[in-house]
């Protein structure tokens, strides 16, 4: 399809540019910027006046809950949430039920996702069978089925020898291993950051060293094995400092943070808001500030949503019993924009964290609006304000710390592979449709 996106504010994170111009899409790619190519006949014209056009958001962690957790959410609802949030590619963790440790499951997931014709789904394969941390999975076969890297998700890996072997095996094929640093024995019994708030509220605490001790082990093993490791969901100031040091030593590592940890801290728990029960926990204000500093100086590569839909029954419980996690696909964009605004970072640079940087973590180039780039695009209104209410979210997960809050930034159109997969104007007219 030939699409002419007219008069939009084109923000190209790869080139670092922010210019109002026209963009032309054909055959799944951006074919030109500025002037239409010779003989271009648009089948669709999108008026992007006062809207921003940027490369589609790439989310390094979004749980789709299939297979196995369909009562929490389904592929249909979460894929819709993704494109409504401007996310054109997402990585899903392997902690489904059963976990993604068999090629058949991965193929089924990819097939289901492809048939929905929405965002690209990039599954992480389980690093060990059943995520039990004992026996390696058939990583090569899983890669052939479509896994882009291997991970333990949130399952602990206490046997360091198995971890070392898994890293070594992964290097055989050049596979990347994604790990969230947490020592299960130090975090045992904890549901919140071991700080002032948990002390006052009488909640079991997870000390910062639960992250840093695990991080230290992983970094040393990465050096020992030469494995390409991506650290997921940093949450501590000390952890950011350790990454800064590791990168200075030219270790092949990258890391991400969840958008919620860019904004929130333990203070937001208030009086036991279960929507603030997250993994890793929301930590101190100092930790949050260190995360912002880490994003500003490039120590932290990418921001993800860590989208985790949780059903009402599992969330409306006393804090310590509530299932952790927050819905995030539709909040990734507005909250990234808020971070840019608050930190005084220009949009081309800020949006790198959710476009070029995640792609680099995935070993891909991209995240640009240059001619020839794939036509994965997000067109959004940076000024539109909306209230975070259950009805406003496409995701089945209504569990968010921002419930009832107003955010700024709304997606109008999302294109994947040169096709419009989300059109906000259609959503509106559907709700205003009057039968005769």
């Amino acid at each position: 399809m030939q699409i002419h996106i007219k008069n939009g504010r084109l923000i190209d994170p790869a080139a670092g540019t922010d210019v109002v111009n026209d963009l032309f899409v054909a055959d799944r790619r951006i074919v030109a910027v500025g002037t239409a190519p010779h003989g271009f006949k648009p089948e669709r014209v999108i008026d992007a006046s006062h809207l921003i056009v940027c490369p589609g958001l790439v989310d390094l962690s979004a749980r789709l809950r299939e297979p196995g957790f369909e009562y929490k959410a389904t592929l249909e609802s979460e894929m819709q949430a993704a494109v409504a949030g401007g996310v054109t590619s997402l990585v899903c963790p392997p902690d489904t039920d059963p976990p993604l440790d068999e090629p058949g499951l991965v193929e089924m997931l990819k097939f289901r996702a492809r048939s929905l014709n929405q965002a690209r789904v990039l599954p992480l394969g389980a690093l060990t069978q059943g995520l039990k941390g004992e026996r390696l999975t058939e990583m090569a076969v899983l890669r052939d089925a479509g896994c882009i890297a291997f991970s333990q998700a949130d399952a602990p890996m206490s046997d360091k020898q198995v971890l070392m072997r898994a890293l070594e095996y992964a290097t055989t094929f050049g596979f990347a291993v994604w790990l969230r640093p947490e020592d299960a024995t130090l975090s045992r019994g904890g549901v919140a950051h071991d700080g002032e708030v948990a002390t006052r509220l009488g909640l079991g605490g997870i000390p910062a060293c639960a992250e840093t001790i695990a991080l230290s082990s992983i970094l040393i093993l990465a050096r020992e094995t030469g494995a390409r490791v991506h650290l997921c969901r940093l949450s501590t100031a000390e952890g950011v400092a350790m990454m800064r040091e590791a990168k200075r030593g030219e270790l092949q590592v990258s890391c991400d943070v969840s958008i919620h940890h860019v904004h929130l801290s333990e203070q937001d728990i208030g009086y036991f808001d279960p929507n603030c029960n997250l993994v890793p926990p929301l930590r101190s204000v100092q930790d949050r500030d260190a995360i912002r500093a880490g994003l500003a100086d490039g120590t932290i590569d990418a921001i993800c949503s860590d989208h985790t839909p949780v059903d009402e029954d599992a969330k409306q419980l006393p804090f310590g019993e509530a299932e952790p996690g927050a819905t995030g696909l539709e909040l990734l964009l507005p909250l990234t924009l808020r971070w840019a605004r608050e930190s005084g970072i220009a949009l081309p640079r800020a949006l790198r964290a959710v476009t070029t940087a995640p792609l680099r973590v995935l070993g891909q180039s991209g995240g640009s609006l240059a001619a020839g780039a794939p036509a994965d695009l997000t067109v959004f209104d940076p000024d539109a304000r909306w209230n975070v209410e259950p009805a406003a979210l496409n995701s089945q997960g209504k569990n968010t710390p921002l419930l009832g809050h107003e955010v700024q930034g709304k997606v109008r159109y999302t294109l994947v592979d040169g096709m419009v997969v989300f059109d906000a104007t259609l959503e509106k007219s559907a709700s205003h449709h009057h039968p005769f």
């Binding site: 002032e196 948990a198 509220l201 000390p207 009086y271």
Partner: protein, 320 residues
């Protein structure tokens, strides 16, 4: 990002008590109103006629998700002395027998015309969760949620202290024991600070004191003798058996030797210091029998005051 989340559930816009969930956020005036009202009820408990018709026709439900005979009985007696109807519900909390959700249970009981819920639960924050989901004219009293709060215990301890010491202002109060796991300690520290005592001390081995305990507004002592010196009030916390022999404490014996309240340790406090304990006591673990039964112990009067304080809390809530 936080507006509204910390808004106090407990107080109406006019500052009247709607729920008693935690001492946090309650101004001194509210605490003193409860203590002053309790004083009237103490006289009632001393009269021949111990009943007043204040809560006649009201239904008070004891929702105990964590079993407790003592506390439940105290609330029941208090409620009956106010002429209320009392219903006791002991709800099994095994996570394997998860039947009805907590909120479903509350919704069903509301439909049975409950006026007040007295809630005890093993999880911190349970009372807040319930209070957020009850109907407009239903009051919730927290009888203990996990490690978080036990406001009526803190109030009856404050009442006891005022009864024997007159005023709060010049007092040094020592709280000894497992503060880490104690909802009583957290509520007491808050109440004593709001009521304006001179100093609250917490005394215990490092493993039993939360790492950030000083943020609660206390002086920290690991040496019991140093901590008890010159105090006016000693509050001993119960040490649970589960804590012994694990990574927190090696044995009851070593704990008793260094932290147990014996006559010689008590002698370091002021000569007219009072000894308190929320109960039930582990004699020979945190407290020596000689002290528990001695002249400075006010442990038994605490129980009587506990009934009056709970009558005051229920009476004030039902009238607001």
């Amino acid at each position: 990002m936080v507006e509204g989340r910390n808004a106090d559930l407990q107080l109406s816009p006019e500052g009247k008590l709607k729920h008693l969930l935690t001492i946090e956020g309650l101004p001194a005036a509210v605490l003193l109103q409860i203590l002053d009202t309790a004083r009237s009820f103490v006289s009632v408990t001393q009269q021949e006629v111990k009943k007043v018709p204040l809560l006649r026709g009201k239904a008070i439900f004891n929702l105990f998700f964590e079993p407790s005979t003592r506390t439940r009985t105290t609330f029941e007696i208090a409620a009956k002395r106010l002429s209320a109807d009392v219903v006791n519900l002991n709800i099994a909390t095994s996570s394997q027998t998860k039947g009805e959700t907590l909120l479903d249970t509350v919704a069903n009981l509301t439909a049975m015309n409950a006026d007040m819920f007295i809630v005890r639960h093993a999880q911190s924050g349970a009372a807040h969760l319930i209070a957020r989901h009850v109907g407009p004219n239903i009051h919730v009293v927290n009888a203990g949620d996990g490690r978080h709060a036990h406001p009526t215990q803190a109030l009856l301890d404050a009442f006891t202290i005022r009864h024997y010491k007159g005023s709060f202002h010049e007092l040094r109060v020592a709280i000894v024991g497992d503060v880490l796991h104690s909802r009583v300690a957290r509520s007491e520290i808050q109440a004593l600070n709001v009521l304006g005592v001179k100093e609250v001390r917490v005394i215990g081995p490092r493993t039993l004191l939360p790492r950030h305990v000083q943020e609660l507004g206390v002086s920290v002592f690991h040496d019991a003798r140093a901590g008890l010196e010159g105090v006016d009030v000693v509050i001993m916390l119960r040490l649970q058996n589960e804590r012994m022999g694990g990574p927190l404490l090696p044995s009851a014996g070593e704990y008793f030797k260094y932290y147990g309240l014996t006559p010689d340790k008590l002698a370091l406090a002021k000569s007219d210091a009072i000894v308190m304990h929320p109960g039930p006591m582990n004699r020979g673990v945190e407290i020596d029998s000689a002290v528990a039964d001695g002249g400075q112990s006010v442990i038994l009067p605490q129980v009587t005051f506990g009934i009056a304080v709970r009558m005051a809390v229920m009476g004030i809530l039902a009238g607001n």
